[in-house]
């Protein structure tokens, strides 16, 4: 009941602020910008032009209709009973895993993804965006010239690597701090050991339970 009311409130808020439409319009702009930056996408999506892909994001309770037409992607919130050439339904994490088109059939087999209609459309979108390759130095060169663009790109790359390294160092420091110094979390090995002991204890309890039952029956 509370969940129902919560859902109603959420839907009223969505209808008032039209958040899903607003978010989709932003995503549409970003994707269309990507189409401009990587012209090879236009060729990859040509085969699915005017075909409608319906994506249901289960954990967001949203359905999105995607159509590629006139060298642009059009994203809309799908209304009830919207017809589509292909429909996929999954949680957001599963949908993100579709960046690898080979995962599609595996996810269907694992019941993590429902697919109806033309599988080729979903695969085409998945493979187009997984191979997204934007030539950033070239895009930057339009504004600052070739040499500075290349330099800037290299600097940004090294900055990205450094930040990755710093993040992994910070992570390991934090882990050792929590496990060894502050002792507020346990080591994964300790958890494994605890689980093993737990399982042994569980089987012992089950054995005792059986013996008690047998004794009760004998009495």
């Amino acid at each position: 009941m509370a969940l129902e009311e919560n859902n109603k409130e959420q839907s009223a808020a969505n209808s008032f602020f039209m958040l899903p439409s607003f978010v989709l319009s932003l995503i549409e702009q970003v994707l269309n910008q990507a189409l401009k930056l990587d012209p090879s996408l236009v060729d990859k999506l040509k085969e699915v032009e005017h075909q409608r892909l319906l994506v249901e994001v289960r954990d967001w309770q949203q359905k999105i209709a995607i159509t590629y037409a006139n060298q642009q992607l059009h994203l809309y919130t799908a209304v009830e009973h919207a017809d589509a050439d292909c429909m996929i339904s999954a949680n957001i994490n599963t949908l993100l895993a579709l960046k690898n088109p080979a995962m599609l059939t595996q996810l269907i087999r694992q019941d993590k993804l429902d697919l109806q209609g033309d599988l080729n459309i979903a695969q085409r979108y998945s493979s187009a965006f997984s191979s997204l390759d934007i030539d950033w130095p070239e895009q930057l060169a339009k504004y600052v010239g070739d040499a500075p663009a290349q330099q800037l790109y290299l600097h940004l790359q090294s900055l990205q690597q450094q930040s990755k390294k710093a993040k992994s160092q910070l992570d390991s420091t934090l882990i050792s701090l929590c496990q060894d110094e502050l002792a507020i979390t346990i080591h994964p090995l300790e958890l494994v050991q605890f689980k093993q002991q737990n399982r042994a204890l569980k089987s012992q309890v089950a054995a005792i339970e059986q013996r008690i039952n047998a004794l009760i029956k004998a009495l």
Binding site: F16, M18, S21, A69, D83
Partner: protein
């Protein structure tokens, strides 16, 4: 006693002769045409774009469809429809006002949208098309300016193909009392001032606020659509009912 009394209708809060309303509305839109898009963005804080997106989302439009964007103004909906129906489809941008059509045509040409769009000056009460011509008719923020709305709805029904749908996006009645009061204050105090400052035309925006209040509410419009012959008529309140999107089918 006058044996042939002149029929009257409303023009905002004023009562005028039916024969005069069309030209009075035309004057309003001739006056605002060039600033129409800027004012729309300003007055609605850009939300009119989301209302129109919702209209497109509800349209069920596919490649090859024939679409009439009635009272299409500066062509926001036509621009999207033109891309979605492709080369085999057709979009007619219809408006009673030549200035609005001119601005719309120029804007769509600048966007590179040519080939599948026709521009036709027309009166919604007597649509110049054969029966069963369109898969979809939309009228966004236009119906309240039509003199005889029932006649216009019947005319739209006639030219829709069986299975086709009509979408009416129009200002309506806010659901909450508090929102209604805030909206009234905004419409009658801030909106005309904004019109005066940006478009140097406060009267047109005063008319806008008044015409919204005189427009039928959600349920009345739904009943009018049913009376015109539409089936499975539903509506969706947007932004708390400030705007409603009505949908009806012809079978």
């Amino acid at each position: 006693m006058n044996e042939n009394p002149e029929k009257t209708t409303h023009f905002g809060y004023k009562t005028v002769a039916e024969t005069e309303k069309a030209s009075m509305v035309a004057d309003v839109f001739h006056s605002v045409a060039t600033k129409y898009d800027v004012m729309n963005d300003l007055m609605s804080f850009g939300i009119h774009r989301l209302w129109k997106r919702q209209t497109i989302a509800s349209s069920g439009i596919r490649k090859g469809h024939h679409v009439l964007d009635l009272a299409g103004g500066t062509g926001d909906l036509t621009a999207k429809f033109s891309q979605l129906v492709g080369d085999t489809g057709q979009v007619v941008l219809g408006d009673i006002n030549s200035s609005m059509l001119k601005v719309g045509r120029e804007k769509l040409h600048n966007l590179g949208l040519v080939g599948n769009i026709d521009y036709v000056q027309m009166n919604a009460e007597a649509l110049p098309f054969p029966d069963n011509s369109f898969d979809l008719i939309t009228i966004a923020f236009g119906l309240r300016n039509v003199t005889d709305q029932n006649k216009a709805l019947r005319s739209m029904y006639r030219i829709l193909k069986p299975g086709g749908r009509l979408l009416i996006l129009e200002f309506s009645k806010p659901e909450q009392e508090l929102l209604s009061k805030a909206y009234d204050f905004y419409s009658f105090n801030i909106l005309p001032t904004m019109g005066k400052l940006v478009a140097n035309d406060s009267e047109s925006y005063q008319y806008l606020a008044e015409s919204i209040r005189m427009h039928p509410d959600q349920e009345t419009l739904k009943a009018m659509m049913n009376e015109a012959g539409f089936e499975q008529t539903t509506y969706q309140n947007l932004t708390g009912g400030i705007v409603a999107l009505h949908r009806g089918f012809k079978y």
